[in-house]
């Protein structure tokens, strides 16, 4: 289907199914149950899952394929966001122009940064990208305040000129031809409450397209060249290929993905702040990609989901909630259990995140994807077909004779 082989088609369909049914899948617990705290199926977090999924997919095209580790990708996300909010301030609250401009601006900026940074490789490249991103952050926070709004950032305001629909922005609500991104439809079944959010489906649609393009890039001759760059750049040069345009193209593509993610963030939530460009934000996407499995198609999306889940769910569990959970225990035991868990939840969510990073990388060297593969292998072995062979994600084998 769509120029993909059977396996990739199946993967794409799986991703489509998962994103479309996310409001159900992420809300497995009834609203009033004690475990409802673990539900992630509310619009904002679902939007974040797919948006950071896009960001990580794009980052993986650069890092996973070419091995060039950029530490400045948050800058492109930030530039995309600023471009989008300015479109909303100047032109219209419709998200389409905002998203298009965010991709274009991020692409141009990444072209500039990439053109300079790709003169070096290895850690020297990483530091160059980091330097550009940190400069963007520092300037956006301070001297560029007239353009970026500085610390308090930019929001859509009633007083904005908005040439195309001057009266649409009363509350700064972004829309898609009138369909507001904040529009919800909720479905209550039994104890469950499922929310379907217009913005989420717009973002999810964009992610599916992004994912599809990523598959095509992975399977294309271009993708093969990128993997060749990671594998042996010297041989590539002696084969008559100039690696720089390939890396630059990959850099710009991943920069555009970041811009798209930035634009969607504004489309879902009309505001931008400069700390979106801080080095920790660049580091976060690196961690997402490695955590999920660099170089795999779906791994980065899983990594993004994992980190955002911890950030938004674990950080909100407080002692009061713990006491509710363990209220069935005898008092002394309850207090003991709560005391033991206390450092890892609420304000301790960073600690949990750090431990997860370490555990994953120690026990699953290929990231979460490797965990998935091991489980899959376990099932296969039970069925009796022993040899798994090589990892199909890392090393796609072209099938030339498939018509």
């Amino acid at each position: 289907m769509l120029g993909l082989n059977t396996k990739d088609t199946r993967l794409l369909l799986l991703v489509i199914a998962l994103t479309m049914l996310a409001p159900f899948l992420l809300n497995p617990f009834p609203v009033d149950s004690e475990l409802a705290q673990f539900n992630a199926g509310y619009p904002d977090l679902m939007q974040r899952f797919v948006i950071f999924g896009i960001f990580a997919i794009g980052f993986n095209i650069l890092f996973g394929l070419t091995g060039y580790l950029s530490f400045g990708h948050a800058a492109f996300l930030g530039v995309g966001s600023y471009a989008a909010i300015w479109m909303m301030k100047l032109l219209t609250m419709n998200v389409i122009p905002a998203i298009i401009m965010s991709v274009i601006f991020a692409g141009l900026f990444s072209l500039l940064v990439g053109w300079i940074s790709l003169r070096r490789s290895g850690i020297y490249f990483s530091i160059l990208t980091l330097a550009f991103a940190q400069m963007s952050y520092a300037l956006a926070y301070s001297v560029l305040t007239p353009i970026t709004g500085g610390e308090t950032g930019l929001q859509a305001k009633i007083s904005d000129p908005r040439i195309l629909d001057s009266n649409a922005g009363e509350f700064g609500r972004a829309n898609l031809f009138g369909l507001q991104m904040s529009e919800n439809v909720s479905l209550q079944v039994g104890g469950w409450d499922f929310t379907f959010n217009a913005g989420y489906y717009v973002a999810a649609f964009m992610m599916i397209i992004s994912f599809y393009i990523a598959i095509r890039i992975f399977r294309s001759p271009f993708g093969m060249m990128l993997r060749a760059i990671k594998s042996n750049q010297q041989r590539l040069n002696y084969t008559g290929l100039n690696s720089r345009p390939y890396t630059l193209a990959a850099f710009v593509i991943s920069g555009m993905y970041a811009g798209l993610a930035g634009g969607l963030m504004v489309a879902m939530d009309t505001q931008v702040g400069p700390e979106r460009m801080f080095w920790t934000a660049s580091g976060e996407v690196v961690l997402m990609t490695i955590l999920g499995g660099a170089g795999t198609l779906i791994g980065p999306v899983l990594g993004a989901g994992m980190i955002k889940y911890m950030e938004n769910i674990v950080s909100k569990i407080n002692d009061t909630i713990l006491h509710q959970w363990f209220s069935f225990m005898p008092d002394g035991l309850e207090d003991f259990v709560v005391t033991v868990i206390h450092p890892f939840i609420g304000k301790g969510w960073h600690l949990t995140l750090g431990i997860v990073f370490m555990l994953v990388v120690i026990f699953l060297p290929g990231g979460l994807m490797e965990g998935g593969e091991r489980i899959a292998k376990l099932f296969k072995r039970k069925k009796g077909s022993g040899s798994g062979g090589k990892d199909p994600e890392h090393h796609p084998t072209p099938k030339p004779h498939v018509a």
């Binding site: 890092f63 091995g67 580790l69 300079i116 003169r119 070096r120 490789s121 290895g122 850690i123 020297y124 530091i127 160059l128 980091l130 330097a131 550009f132 940190q134 400069m135 520092a138 300037l139 926070y141 301070s142 001297v143 560029l144 080095w279 920790t280 580091g283 690196v286 961690l287 490695i290 955590l291 660099a294 450092p343 301790g348 960073h350 600690l351 995140l353 750090g354 431990i355 997860v356 990073f357 370490m358 994953v360 990388v361 120690i362 060297p365």
Partner: protein
């Protein structure tokens, strides 16, 4: 002129902190080939060694003073440090006052131990893994370390002053013939600068003049060959990691009077120390030190009022700008060796 001399002095002082952190980082890069994102955390742990020792020295027992009331109107609880009881208030107070310098003795064994445990328990298993895995695991470790500190010491900075004897500043300008007040300099910063110099010299001479150092330097150049000679390079690298941790830790200990330590100070320095190491050139100890001082001085010069007026925001970005310029003109930083961390 005096303003520029003043800023160069400032820069050297700032640079000595950068250089010390970068020195340890580049030792780990060079010897072990590990991208250690937990290095900032080691600096932070060093600073908290000083905090911990000062807490230990001020361990107190509570005396209820009926004559005074606390804010709720209950009798005031007064804390009396044991040291005051044992040695009398004056000697006790002096010991507590000198807690930061005393922490050097406390921090060296603690930091070497932490370094060795880290290397043996974790880093060792990542030598052959891709840099990406090293980043993830050391970043995770850094988060865990700083969260543990946050859990016990809180997020707020903790004042850890220098001994009374080093408080205040002296007029350096008068010494070299400028007007009074034109170049003043705090005593403790001079101590820090001197300390950094001694530490850098110690590390260099250790590597230069001992057999141990020679083996390690050979190992940095070509690990496999040294291994083939039948020398147990792994064990030496473990010790090297311990030393790198101790250097970072000592930089942290002595830094506490300059700025009160807090749990995320390591992250604040992490990015900067990477920039310093890379600008200096991967695998070059001298480069790291030189880049540390260079960036420190340039940062100070860029913060002068008329410079900011001339180029708004330059003080925000100077370090990164310089890093970009240097890396574009010198492909491997100031003194980098070919082939290190370039793949």
């Amino acid at each position: 002129m005096d303003a520029i001399i003043l800023q160069i002095l400032n820069g050297l002082d700032k640079g000595s902190a950068y250089a010390l952190i970068a020195l340890g980082l580049t030792l780990i890069f060079g010897t072990l080939g590990v991208v250690n994102f937990a290095h900032g955390a080691l600096f932070m742990l060093g600073a908290f060694c000083a905090v911990t020792l000062s807490r230990i020295l001020s361990l107190s027992h509570v005396v209820i003073d009926e004559s005074r009331k606390d804010f709720l109107g209950n009798p005031m609880k007064v804390e009396v440090p044991y040291l005051h009881e044992w040695f009398g208030p004056e000697v006790g107070a002096t010991i507590i006052d000198w807690s930061v310098p005393l922490s050097i003795l406390f921090a060296i064994p603690v930091m070497i131990l932490i370094g060795v445990i880290m290397e043996r328990g974790l880093i060792k298993h990542f030598y052959k893994r891709p840099h990406a895995d090293q980043i993830l695991v050391t970043f995770g470790l850094a988060i865990v370390l700083q969260e543990i500190i946050k859990y016990y010491y809180g997020a707020n900075p903790i004042p850890t002053p220098a001994p009374e004897a080093f408080a205040g500043s002296f007029d350096f300008g008068v010494l070299i013939g400028f007007d009074a007040n034109s170049i003043i300099y705090p005593y403790w910063r001079l101590v820090y600068f001197g300390f950094a110099m001694v530490l850098v010299a110690a590390v260099f001479s250790f590597l230069q003049f001992t057999t141990f150092g020679m083996v390690v330097r050979a190992g940095m150049a070509d690990r496999e060959t040294v291994g083939l000679l039948g020398i147990n390079i792994d064990k030496r690298f473990t010790i090297m990691f311990g030393i790198a941790a101790a250097v970072a830790g000592l930089a942290g200990v002595m830094y506490t009077p300059i700025n009160p330590p807090n749990y995320h100070m390591g992250m604040d320095f992490l990015v900067l120390s990477f920039v310093v190491v890379v600008v200096g050139g991967m695998g070059s100890l001298g480069g790291a030190v030189a880049a540390g001082f260079l960036l420190g001085v340039l940062e100070s010069l860029a913060s002068m009022g008329w410079v900011i007026d001339l180029v708004p925001g330059i003080n925000q970005i100077i370090i990164y700008l310089v890093a970009i310029v240097i890396l574009l003109t010198r492909p491997r930083g100031l003194m980098g060796r070919k082939g290190v961390m370039e793949e």
